[in-house]
């Protein structure tokens, strides 16, 4: 399967507010509120402004979090990226 590249919403488009176990994200473009749980906020933060594919994202997250015990996280990250795309918080680069 090809490892597609994605790009997170541009800086300033989202307002991210952690609320305990949930994180509320306000998308200024759509005026929609999204409620997400980990690892969605971490993924968005790790993506930053650049386009990145699942392999690059896994590497970035591994640098910040202990993912060794998780096995291959790439299929999970691909699913989460698809969900973030459906919410409009991430788009295909």
């Amino acid at each position: 399967m090809t490892d597609r590249a994605y790009r997170a919403a541009p800086a300033g488009a989202l307002r991210v507010e952690p609320l305990g176990a949930l994180t509320a994200i306000f998308d200024r473009r759509s005026m929609q509120t999204h409620l997400v749980v980990s690892p969605m906020p971490e993924i968005l933060e790790a993506m930053g402004e650049d386009a990145c594919n699942v392999a690059a994202l896994a590497a970035r997250l591994a640098a910040s979090f202990d993912l060794d015990s998780e096995g291959d996280v790439r299929p999970i990250l691909a699913e989460r990226l698809a969900e973030l795309t459906a919410m409009g918080l991430v788009e295909r680069a």
């Binding site: 307002r15 609320l19 305990g20 509320a24 509120t33 409620l35």
Partner: protein, 292 residues
């Protein structure tokens, strides 16, 4: 329209017009103690009208209109004209108000701090607020409202909307036993919401209706079952209050900011209670122990 009046509840100035005299007379009696300012422009318009001219007399049925309408809403018989007026007023505020974030919640205040109670119909939020507002001896609670609580998006303060309290079914006898009969409206029996009787808030609550209060405690009551207290996280309170807000979406980022601030700064609990006395006791206990 033939019959009209103006009523100010909290920051909302209503203009109410009716094809019949009865609903306007009933409103003027319930709201006689509220401040009146005929010169102030109206914020919301409610119209009570007959669908056909002859229906003013023949089996009169009251349609509810105004700035906003609910299509296909069934009319009410003229004997329930007061309920129609109240529903019309709620509807205009719920759909039209933008100056504050609106929570479908009751509220009482003490020492400039607000206790906000949100719950579905039947949760007892109105009854608890009414009973606290009428409490003997410890009667220093000010009723802010039984239906809507307004949150200032900029500062975060709660503002009152102390319309006449809509007592339903069992709550009618419970409250009627404690208050002067002159403060109760007519009994509206067999409405779509059951029996309804309105309670005029205490004069102090009406006089203080423009005074803000700082949100200090958020409660999500549920009537029935054993008495219990469940602390609620910020995220769950956020979800529940966005569902309980009629204008959260319309306010955009201002609503988002006001809501995140409210749930972060205000401790929240779910409570269950078997009867009103137990409910009031739980509320007082949490206020003493957990309110900010």
């Amino acid at each position: 329209m033939r019959h009209r009046t103006r009523i100010a509840v909290g920051p909302v100035q209503f203009r109410i017009g009716s094809d019949w005299a009865e609903p306007v007379a009933a409103l003027e009696s319930l709201y006689a103690g509220y401040p009146r300012d005929e010169m102030r422009p109206a914020d919301a318009t409610v119209r009570l009208f007959a669908a056909r001219p002859w229906r003013r007399w023949l089996r009169p049925s009251v349609h509810i209109g105004g700035d906003f309408v609910v299509p296909d809403a069934l009319p009410l018989p003229l004997s329930m004209g007061l309920l129609a007026a109240e529903m019309g007023m709620n509807l205009q505020v719920a759909l039209g108000w933008r100056r504050h974030m609106l929570l479908h919640a009751s509220a009482v205040a003490k020492d400039g701090r607000a206790l906000i109670m949100s719950g579905e119909s039947g949760s007892g939020k109105s009854t608890l607020a009414a009973l606290l507002g009428e409490k003997e001896g410890g009667g220093d609670w000010r009723l802010m409202g039984d239906e809507f609580t307004l949150i200032d998006p900029a500062g975060g303060d709660a503002f009152a909307f102390p319309r006449a309290v809509s007592l339903k079914n069992e709550a009618i006898a419970e409250v009627a036993a404690r208050v002067d009969a002159a403060r109760l409206g007519p009994l509206l029996a067999g409405t779509p919401k059951g029996d309804i009787r309105h309670l005029i808030p205490r004069p102090e609550a009406i006089a203080a209706m423009h005074e803000p209060a700082r949100p200090a405690l958020l409660l999500f009551p549920r009537f029935g079952g054993e008495a219990g207290i469940e602390p609620m996280g910020e995220g769950e309170a956020f979800v529940r209050l966005t569902e309980a807000s009629t204008n959260y979406v319309a306010l955009g980022e201002a609503g988002f900011a006001a809501m995140t601030r409210l749930v972060r700064e205000t401790p929240a609990f779910g409570i269950t209670y078997p009867d009103s006395a137990a409910g009031v006791a739980l509320v007082e206990r949490l206020w003493a122990e957990a309110a900010r």
